[in-house]
Symmetry: C2
Subunit: 231 residues, 2 copies
């Protein structure tokens, strides 16, 4: 098995094509499957009895939306999720994802520092493959707190604050305990040596991604130690 690592531009192109008329997917569908993949990967590594209290840190974009969906599925898998979502998007989809969590009484916290002390595991749903440039407030402080925590961190798609292609430049970010790449790993993942899962089965027929065969009915596959090359 050889993986194909995506440039930022190709990751964007694939995402746009999936949601184009030619791809046929809605963002609701893709986000649902992405969040489910994340929750399943977490459940494969962190037992819900030993690590029940999962703090999901959500950014303002789609990565944050994936985190909101993951929170809901983790609740259904027997975890006790708690959401930190400091820059909530007014967009209708995100408002609905919040309602879905509210209806399950999943709490939202405004105090990251306190909540970290009451958590067993952190999900980093802050920035995804479209991230670039400077890290704006309040996420500069959020990243700093995640750099300092001793809790295991699971990052969605890329470790937040990493450059999508160049990785952890200037030591700006942290190294997560798990990375859950979506569709195909991004170039920065070449520098990542931790537990690595892949989620999202949708693109097998295109772009010569040479995606691995997912086991059974799982939405994720463990790709730790699988080598890869730039596509």
């Amino acid at each position: 098995m050889t993986l194909k690592y995506l440039t930022q531009q190709l990751a964007k192109t694939i995402d746009e094509e999936l949601m184009s008329q030619a791809g046929g997917f809605s963002i609701d569908q893709l986000m649902e499957l992405a969040g489910l993949s994340v929750a399943q990967a977490i459940a494969k590594v962190y037992d819900n009895l030993k690590y029940p209290r999962v703090l999901i840190c959500c950014g303002p974009g789609n990565n944050g939306g994936d985190g909101l969906v993951a929170a809901r599925h983790l609740f259904h898998f027997g975890y006790k999720p708690n959401i930190f979502y400091p820059k909530q998007t007014k967009n209708e989809l995100y408002q609905r994802l919040i309602v879905q969590c509210d209806n399950l009484n999943i709490p939202f916290t405004n105090n990251l520092s306190n909540q970290l002390k009451q958590s067993d595991l952190v999900i980093d749903a802050i920035f995804g493959f479209s991230f670039s440039g400077e890290i704006r407030a309040p996420f500069d402080q959020v990243i700093q707190m995640l750099k300092e925590t001793k809790l295991p961190i699971a990052s969605i798609d890329i470790p937040s604050a990493w450059d999508v292609e160049k990785g952890n430049i200037n030591g700006r970010g942290f190294t997560p305990a798990i990375l859950i790449s979506l569709t195909s790993p991004k170039l920065c993942a070449k520098q990542y040596n931790g537990i690595h899962f892949l989620g999202g089965r949708n693109l097998e027929k295109k772009y010569d991604l040479q995606l691995p065969l997912y086991p059974g009915t799982d939405q994720v596959i463990d790709i730790t130690n699988v080598s890869g090359e730039k596509l």
Copy 2:
């Protein structure tokens, strides 16, 4: 564990509420999870090596949409789905679900009779909980062919042509080998003695449905032989 069987009206009310502002779900999300539940239930009972050729018979409404999603997931699970969808809905969502199957080269057939001879298993995605009244063409003939086939049939939500509450009145329908009830079983399922799965974890906090605890990260649970009562 005791199950709550839903009347047709309550099933409709729950569905509407899920997709209301209070529930926050989009039909894309619910259909994705429903279709995934169906595909997972199939995979638990019918091995993809012994039963690779799955014929999905889709009706004109949401039950048919669940079937289209299930077809896509079954493809990803290693089956060879084939879709019979004689009354295709012009609605944008359904058109997108068709595109998603087309992009995986999942074939659509116009000849049910022939395709039945080349299949190992049938998914009945024709009518769901909102069905009532007479069975209109071409589905009268479709139901007749499914009554005559020796292949195992898996029905989504209700066995098509059954009355949602009264069951198989006048022997109008067939008895499937598997029933995959969504959210909670409908009243007609009280008369059903075959393999029975439940899918859809979304409503635990409402309507006192007393839904069972789903195992692990599965989207379905086997409820064969679990007793129930009318809600």
